[in-house]
Amino acid sequence: MSAIDLPHYLIVSALLFCLGLLGVIVRRNVLIIYMSLELMLNAGNLALVAASRFNNNLNGQIMVFFIITVAAAEVAVGLALIVALYRRRQTTHVEDLTTLKF
């Protein structure tokens, strides 16, 4: 039996999530922010699969299946939004996109 337990996977997942969060906060390119969001989603997926495995319950994996589907749809719409935004403003830099700011 392997010595790798649920906490190991959860810690990897937490660290990966924090990396994604750091990317969203630090980076200023919309595309990189979007990739960091994908990183966070994947960290959540890893936690769900690990929890599903170590609790003898397949429901977590079904949830990951749905999350992957929704993430694919979200990427399609989000990238279309970024392209539309770039077409209008000629930039993907968040500090140039301040129309909604007070």
């Binding site: 906490p7 810690i11 599903s52 749905f66």
Partner: protein
Amino acid sequence: MQDVFFYIFAGLALLCGALVIANPVSRNPVTSAMFLVLTIVSLAGLFVLLHAFFLAAVQVLVYAGAVIVLFLFVIMLLDLKEEERRRIKLFMAGLAVLAVGTIAAVMIRTIKLAHPAGTLARVRVEGSADALGRMLFSSNFALPFELVSLLLLVAMIGAILLSKKDLR
């Protein structure tokens, strides 16, 4: 043997994840996308170690195959040469690292407190395509499954509409 693979894949995922957000050599978004592929493939390896074989395949197919290709298309569609020159403000980056580091410390402490190591021993669940498919088409998940297909249709129409030239 499995432990070695766990450490290899986990280390690779974290290393490539770090290189996605902050690459010391190149600030080109294409490099970030390539490291995102590596992260996703190592996560698929972790899924295989967790016996989630179907999800590992789906992960590689959907993320590495579809999502990253979409990212690369958009990166190459937009001409981003001008973006590369700007620097990140160091003070703000330091504050962000501090804040996220605190969150990470809280998370890891919580995980250690909630799951003392060695309590979970007997695992039998197998995430094969057979088992997952049977669950997915059972009465519990048939409705969400159909709704997801509707969501994909809506996303497709939305993406087409947003990409039209005269967007109002």
